[in-house]
Symmetry: C2
Amino acid sequence: MTRWLDDDEQRAWRAFLSATQLVNEALDRQLQRDAGMPHTYYMILVALSEAPERSMRMSELAARAQSSQSRLSHAVARLEERGWVRRARCSDDRRGNTAVLTEDGFAALAAAAPGHVEEVRRSLFDVLTPEQVRSLDEICTAVRNTLER
Amino acid sequence: MTRWLDDDEQRAWRAFLSATQLVNEALDRQLQRDAGMPHTYYMILVALSEAPERSMRMSELAARAQSSQSRLSHAVARLEERGWVRRARCSDDRRGNTAVLTEDGFAALAAAAPGHVEEVRRSLFDVLTPEQVRSLDEICTAVRNTLER
DNA sequence: CCCAAGTATATGAGAGTTCAACTAAAAAGT
DNA sequence: ACTTTTTAGTTGAACTCTCATATACTTGGG
């Protein structure tokens, strides 16, 4: 009954696993080494930096930064300890919490960004032709549209 | 100086991050829920199952299962507790250790495989055209060849 | 033959992630 | 109004991962 993978699919699947893991490891290593944060924290800072007032409700932030709520909660607690983010209770919905990027947090992000982009290029874009980039975009968009809640 | 990403690259990059994370989360959730193991453990069992004698040197196993040596060491320790793997000192090189897949381990893998493949299809292959699969293979192979040690 | 350098693996601490439970507040029923 | 059900967010425990370090063996020079 099981629809096993044929040879082509096997090859593609294993290549996919290797490539995505290698890219993620490269990102994490670079950010950890040069900026002292994991990639997940970086994504949180990016999401906040792009929001109006550099602040966002926790649940929306979780969605934008592709994090579970629990993960985000823990992460923001750490980021708060470093002084990169602070929390503020919502006025309209008293259950809600808002995360705000501080100046220090913004500065940390700005300092980390160039090295990060460089790593993104090195590990992905420099390897691909423009057409492959288009193709990758389509593929990933299709997957995202199917899987995301 | 920094070569920032242009709009197309930004879109592709974010799609890539979403898609790969969604796929990985789906895999991990399915395996954890239905087979009580993370995807990394599954990959270790697969690598062992494909090796002659269902056994392999730790360092080669790490390479095949795309794991760091440290991660593998910890993982095999856990797998050993469950009785899915056992270790045997090498005869020729007394520093070396060999991991061996036990019958129970093979059975656990066999039991986990169908659900896992189903999830792989649902989250990736069912979403893509055959041409996209080819394209993805090429892209990932290129990335892998560049990044892997 | 002995010592320095390299290789194979293990281990412990610290950090991040997950899952399930928990609190608190809003919304929906009745 | 009062209870039930959702929704927002946090928390603690268990687990995995990473990084640095430690151990044990092997190899390559002198």
